[in-house]
Symmetry: D2
Subunit: 337 residues, 4 copies
């Protein structure tokens, strides 16, 4: 394929606009041919200065645009299922921002539709799999360098949470990244979830159970603990320590520049995931475009999106019930073997 | 008091012999006047080269030796209670290696005996309170520098466990250090314990549930997770990260010398608690001797020893039952206010 | 400019082939229209699989190819001057791998030719200016955050040197990066050079004075020391500590993943500059393409290339003479103001 | 020797008073029997609360006090020679704070007097040799773990300098520690000194050449660079990186507690050498007392004190003359073989 890949971007909010810019300005081999957003002004803003983009307020109309060869879904969660089913119907490869769908049930319908088609078309935006440090950790675990992984200790901290963030969203929106990372790093499904937590921080909005400690058990007998703290105040931090039978490995805690002044040696802490994972997003979209141009879809699958959703739902129940909740997954279609 | 403090050391095993050497060689103001061990040869070996030491095979006879002004108990756990009660009866200050007694019930009897006497005479050997890093963390928490503490993430790893170490001893013998450290750092009693764990490591002896993740809840609403892994193979590591409402603080992970060679930058990991906490042991015994010479007993109290034992027992039950176990403490005597 | 920028790449060796791949595969807005290398097979290998590339064995013929709008010079050092003068004659923007020319005299002729044309067309490939850590350090220094910079302590280590590397090349080829970085970070010209060194390492080829300590004095009274060690054996390491009147800042020493096993905590050390500075190379070429498409040339200038060459030549003399050598720069043309 | 060692302390200033306290309170096996200071009130303050101490205003009278078995010299530099010669005459072991004497010539007279007596009695207070990190580095170098040492990169920073500190004292008083450390770590004499420096920091008192870069060449062909910066403002820092033929090793830069708050991860930097080297001072005096009680003197010798003084004097000349100055040492007496 010598022509650039024509991409329709659905959703022109923060994430969508960022992807439009990325595809147009920094990904070789791609061009944005259509942008859809119910808010026309927002679509226009995202596409400003990029030639040849057709604007739509209706996502399905954008998919029908001539020249659309692939789709990037960055619309609100509830709109994902319809967009994905439409893309599958047209045989278009899709990069879908997480979550795959609004809930595990909807996610499973997407999985079944793709499996029915018999061909991998969907990649889910779990971009940590493209982060250099996570990839290094995955390589180490797969090499057996520290023996069988026994535990993952994860920290996921945000400076502050957006308005309307709920206690359940700490799990379904934030910990879902760790759920996918754990499944991917360990190569195992999650079988049960328990949620504990201290008395909420005074720095969290009233009523928000923040922080929480989410405990995942896996099919292979590993244990994962995740501190999720979305109003920690001091920075955006994502760390992971894998403890194996013969060693441990920790990522995400490293300093960049160390400054010494006024009695202290300090490093700045990233304040935002956009900064921390900027390269991962770039690498993800570049790899997706390059793969699609060669007819391959190889990243996180619809099954990965479904499994993360199912675990997150069990986590939300564990939070509500104050008890361990087993995770029930549907049977895995052969396509995702 | 211008004369050196005369100390009887009960127990001449690994720990006892080390204390004999410490009191004789590196603590100003103390001298060892009696050593008791049922195994006379072991007592002789410990006292070799130190002038003026009387050897006994019976602990109570050692306490009665003229010149004994204080007692250091390093005998087996089951012998603690009798020795402590005898020392209390004689009004002798005691530094007692942890645990205070063989179980929480025995520990409570010791507490009651001391409280009945109306005077603090017992200090328990929780030497982490004398470690420079732990003291720094305590100072930071007390200053409010990171706000109210919400969580402690603790790691406690040993290269390998001694023979006959049981799954319950991971909690009662090893995690008991974190139980005391958590109570001391937070200034709160522990109210419940939950124990989880991955499938045991192949590096652990058959039947040993190693590693474990022990979760402590406290009266003030903090949550403490402890990874205890006594056959990790790679080193002796004790780390603690306190997460507060406005920041976090981590101790125990720092490098000393960083060596770069053959493609790697590395630091050696301490292989043994004797090395890691050598200074803490020295500081503990020096502070105890100095205090006793001035008529003060100020370190970890018999109540601290009892509380740690009670929490550890709840932990052992939580391990056995696979469920959260609430901790029931006796009423705290006024002496320990 | 909506069409991609047509680039001729001169030189298809290691560096040139890498840039061909970068322009074709990962830089949006560029395409390779010509590749020139005296060795046709090498040119073909570099261009394999990229559509629309015309191959040449003569650099000047490649410049004359229709569609060439910019030039990337990655040919051997001695070929730079002719290529640069030809590109200037055609008004083509150039990204020229360091050094600007084979020696300071040739570099000055290039500077004069560009100044004569009255328009910045040349950017030199000092890619450290595009490295995230160096940029962070530059920002800190410019902000006055650590006061006036007094000293830079630099370490530049390679696993091993290529065959035929000479003692002078440690300065002219390797330290030239630090020369540019020091000039850029401090915003000052270098005024004198002294070179010292220990007895050469047994790990260096016979006759090579490796390592060396190169000392640079600057017009503003700063002092820069550079350890250059091209056969250190253990890794590729580039670190820089700036010491200012109120603080210091160190880059390049940070860990990524920390692995604990077998008694050691270790991080891998990068073995190669291609890995360490991969992102800097990408950022450099992307910024150059984006700028040229908008009619701007803003990176390291021909003057920077000349000044680095002049300082390096003084360094080589200081090495040979065993004494401090003052640096004499030509007058700076107004174009580089 | 079962009785505690009777020590006379000469000088009751900051350092002397600290040693009085150390000998009396934290060194087993020693007691202070005499304190001498021309200022009687200062001597009284230092000895307050310690039983059995005789106060003198004359150092030689203190040496004559019955019960004096060893001497600790902490008087002003110019008083060292007389005190040392008197102690040698009486056959008393001495621990002498650095420098050995007021200048290299006086130091040599002390060396000759001790050599004439044929018996090691003097130990110089180069306490870094007792610091755990320095000892670890020495062990590594001696083991050949990083091959032959080629370079030492040293940093020595103080928050601020005391009044009346001169440019020469940066070398003779401060760098003298690195001079001894380099001689000890490398096991080589220093053969030449060069001193360079940036324009002095605005944070230094007017006229003080601060910071400086002091370069030492050694008999075995190693090169040592020392940044001495006594008004760095941000902390007391002593680091040393040894670069060998097969690796490097760095001490002194390690974090203790890492605190994360307000966008930064930081560690406190020690503000004072008393804190940084507290354990080294303790270890030094304890080892000296233990050795003397067994009839051994084994630490840094009078020769070490003389050599450091000679190198420092060459350094001060190099600073004044702006050129490399060769170091001339007297012949080493057989006693120091």
């Amino acid at each position: 394929m010598s022509e650039p890949l024509g991409v329709a971007v659905l959703g022109a909010g923060h994430m969508g606009a960022d992807h439009v810019r990325r595809l147009a300005r920094s990904v070789a081999g791609a061009r944005v041919v259509a942008v859809a957003d119910p808010d026309r002004a927002r679509g226009e803003a995202a596409a400003a200065g990029i030639e040849g983009v057709r604007l739509h307020t209706d996502a399905l109309a954008a998919l029908a645009e001539p020249g659309v060869q692939a789709v990037l879904v960055a619309s609100p969660d509830h709109a994902h299922e319809e967009a994905l089913l439409a893309a599958l119907a047209r045989g278009l490869p899709v990069l879908c921002e997480k979550p795959l769908a609004a809930d595990a049930r909807a996610a499973l319908r997407v999985v079944e539709a793709e499996a029915h088609g018999g061909r991998r078309l969907i990649q889910v935006g779990f971009m940590r799999r493209y982060d250099a440090e996570y990839r290094g950790l995955k390589t180490l675990l797969d090499s057996g360098g520290i023996g069988r992984p026994l535990m993952l200790h994860c920290r996921h901290r945000n400076v502050s949470s957006p308005p309307h963030f709920t206690s359940a969203m700490l799990i379904s929106s934030s910990v879902s990244h760790e759920i996918d990372a754990a499944r991917w790093l360990l190569g195992q499904e999650v079988t049960a979830v328990t949620v504990l937590g201290p008395r909420p921080s005074a720095g969290a909005p009233a009523g928000l159970r923040d922080p929480q400690l989410v405990l995942l058990e896996t099919a292979g007998g590993a244990l994962v603990d995740v501190e999720i703290f979305v109003n920690c105040g001091f920075g955006y931090e994502v760390t992971c320590e894998a403890v194996g039978e013969r060693g441990s490995a920790r990522i995400g805690a490293g300093p960049g520049m160390v400054v010494r002044s006024a009695g202290r040696a300090h490093q700045d802490i990233t304040q935002d995931y956009v900064v921390r994972f900027a390269d991962a997003y770039d690498r993800e979209v570049r790899a997706w475009v390059a793969g699609v141009r060669e007819g391959r879809v190889a990243g996180p699958s619809a099954w990965d999106g479904y499994a993360a959703a199912a675990v997150a739902e069990a986590g939300v129940r564990a939070l509500a019930e104050g008890a361990r909740v087993a995770v029930e997954l549907a049977e895995r279609p052969a396509l995702y073997g």
